[in-house]
């Protein structure tokens, strides 16, 4: 009697839940951005309750029919709670199904991140601490990156893709990783512009705008180099070309959104002011355009960071530097000893 063939496959559920976690976290980031845009962070003064109600039992009509600030803030909390529940589900799934042990640790890590993020959001409200809101805003994309990484590593392909040795793979991995790091640094710089203290001097804001622009330029260069390396450097796998191309396209859109964010918040730069639409342009405070373009700029930044991280992970998984077989030179016969 022969034993049945060994099954090395993992349950597909952890991956499915990781993808779901990504899909739920991105809107959460967007709504979080809206909270900042509308200065709605203190629209609900208590936490974890909402005006004394259990978060989940807050009356629907008061939420949906109430002031917009309250709608956004409470909606952000509900979405956050949903993501928390998904993270717990992800943890439980990794425990209940067959999968590598380290996935369980990674799932626990993700759960911890979401708990810390939730606590930060809550403490921001309880202490009315604006700078803590900024940490909360920067930590959200970090959690999103963790979700993207989990979705990437739990996929079936991740375990089955062959590792290829390729010349220049080390450079590709470094470039991809550095691009992802730059994308995250850009989020942190942007958060300072969004959460700048009202009593900070103009020099402070000026410095951060300058760095935000410099890192944007650096990011453009890095994404261009990464795209060129992937498309023309012998790494033309669809697992890389697709996300890299998407990063490039999103980065272009992000640059446009950045410009639009500036214009809708502060008006056209001076050198445009001899042209009619700019000369007569009136900034509409918290208008639809201003609020949504600014929030979209923030959210797209997180998406670029997530995708850049995916590229970095896949580049590391698919390619490894070609092993160099060092050959000891044989000493020439008759050479002097």
């Amino acid at each position: 009697m022969t034993a049945p063939p060994l099954d090395h496959s993992c349950s597909p559920w952890p991956h499915r839940l990781a993808v779901l976690l990504c899909c739920a976290t991105f809107p959460l980031l967007w709504v979080g951005g809206l909270v900042t845009t509308y200065d709605a962070g203190m629209a609900v003064p208590d936490w974890p309750n909402t005006y004394g109600y259990n978060l989940f039992l807050y009356p629907l009509e008061t939420w949906v029919g109430g002031p917009f600030d309250l709608f956004v803030e409470h909606g952000h909390r509900l979405l956050g709670a949903a993501v928390g529940v998904l993270a717990i589900g992800f943890c439980v799934t990794t425990l209940a199904t067959r999968c590598p042990a380290w996935w369980r640790w990674a799932a626990a890590g993700a759960l911890l991140l979401v708990i810390v993020q939730g606590l930060m959001g809550g403490l921001r409200v309880l202490f009315d601490a604006r700078a803590l809101a900024q940490f909360h805003g920067c930590f959200g994309p970090l959690f999103f990156g963790a979700c993207v990484a989990l979705a990437a590593v739990t996929s079936t392909g991740w375990r089955s893709w062959p590792v290829q040795e390729a010349k220049g793979a080390g450079g590709l991995r470094r470039l991809a990783l550095f691009t992802a790091v730059l994308a995250y640094v850009q989020i942190v710089l942007g958060s300072e512009l969004r959460h700048v203290r009202t009593d900070a001097g103009p020099r402070w804001f000026q410095t951060f705008v300058l760095f935000h622009l410099l890192v944007a330029a650096a990011l453009v260069v890095h994404v261009a180099l990464l795209s060129a390396r992937v498309w023309r450097g012998g790494f033309r796998s669809s697992k890389l070309t697709r996300p890299v191309t998407l990063v490039a396209v999103l980065l272009f859109a992000q640059l446009c959104l950045g410009g639009a964010t500036w214009v809708t918040n502060y008006g056209w730069p001076d050198w445009f002011k001899d042209f009619f639409p700019a000369a007569s342009y009136v900034v509409q405070a918290k208008g639809w355009m201003q609020a949504n373009l600014t929030t979209a700029h923030m959210a797209l930044g997180s998406l670029i960071w997530g995708l850049a991280l995916l590229v970095a992970l896949r580049a590391g998984r698919l390619y490894q530097p070609r092993a160099t077989h060092s050959v000891q030179p044989t000493r020439a016969l008759g050479a002097a000893a």
Partner: protein, 464 residues
Amino acid sequence: MKQRCVKPRFWVVLVGTLGLAVGCGKAPSPRFDSNLMVMDKYDISFEQQQDIANALAALFGTPDDPYVPKESGLDKDKIKLAAGPTKSDKAGVHTGLYREHCAHCHGISGNGMGPTAAFLKPYPRDYREGWFKFKSTERAEMPTNADLERILRHGIPGTSMPAFEVALVQPEIEALVEYVKYLSLRGMVEIELARQTSEELGEGERLPTTAEFLVEGVLKPQAEKWSSAETKLMPVAAPPADFGSPASIAAGKSLFYDVNKANCLKCHGTTALGDGVLNDYDQWNKDVAEFRTKADATLASLTEQRGKAEEDFATAVEALGADSALSEEERKQQRETLEKDKAATLKKLGEKERMLPTAMAYTLVPRYIEPRNLRMGVYRGGRRPLDVYYRIHSGINGTPMPAIANLVADSELPADLSEEEKAQRRQSLQTQRMWNIVDYVLSLPYEPGGELGADISMLGRERN
């Protein structure tokens, strides 16, 4: 089997980090900044500055907890709505409106030095001098509530000043108007206190802290400027019957380019493209430019001034020693006086050395004002004929745009009229001619190309 568990140390680190984050995140409450340029202008010592800050705190409170004496004429409830950190309640009532909507440009103190200020052109308004540009009152007077409301509601085209029509409801706009007045009044009182400290207090005398002095002597006269604004409106006569006609526009055109009458071409240029005088400052930038020049010179000469103080002291002591007419006791007393004077001079120089770099950091690089390109059809103070009339009648406060000159020559008035009749006729003609200029200014964006008033051809490219 080996039991793996998360060590308690991990939780300690986690809770500690969060505690630290809260500690760092809970930033101190913002404070009102001292007007250091004014302190330097009036040569106010650190002690006196503290006295002024104390007086201001007593009169106006803090950004989180503002206070207004009833003599200020300000509405405490509106100010409470606009002040403090940004929050909103279940009913959607927002508090901390100023910090939510204004402070990032105008600054917590209303000094026009919010975080974004350096990027904006023109720089955000500094309310503290009480100079406001676009209003319906006479040039040097304060604006009315309606003037401020209009700017808040509609914004200023071509600048970073937003329109709040969509974002704010009427009570919120009123609250912000009141808060702008509060900041402006506070700034005006600060300047007045500095002036009085410098000009009216004797050597070593401290600023009085009695309510009589602070409220009756300082606050009330400044508050009166605001409360009387409604009575200082510009007189506006109705436009003449031919307003809008080619004849009225032509009359306005000749006045516009007449160097002896309206002389608008001086700044707006012979083309009206705003290319006349291009190297003039508005009052805010002028003050900053003068302050920076003076501060640079003072800082550069501090060592020299210290050396001179030492040298003067040494010379005086030497002269004292050589004066045989003085008794030992007198010599000792005079030497003590000289030492005191030297110490006071050195202390003052030390304070300058500490204060001026901070004060410089609280200013932005001065910029020249750009006369408006009138062919764009964009009028920052409003596009209604009445708005343009206001600008022509009283000019724009704080800028080189002057109130209109006399447009009626004596020779134009019939000689046989009495003085009273002449004055009436002059007034009537003056008003009519101002409306003619309004007519021409409003027609400029539509004026066909070709020769202008000063016979300078205008390029189509520049017309926009």
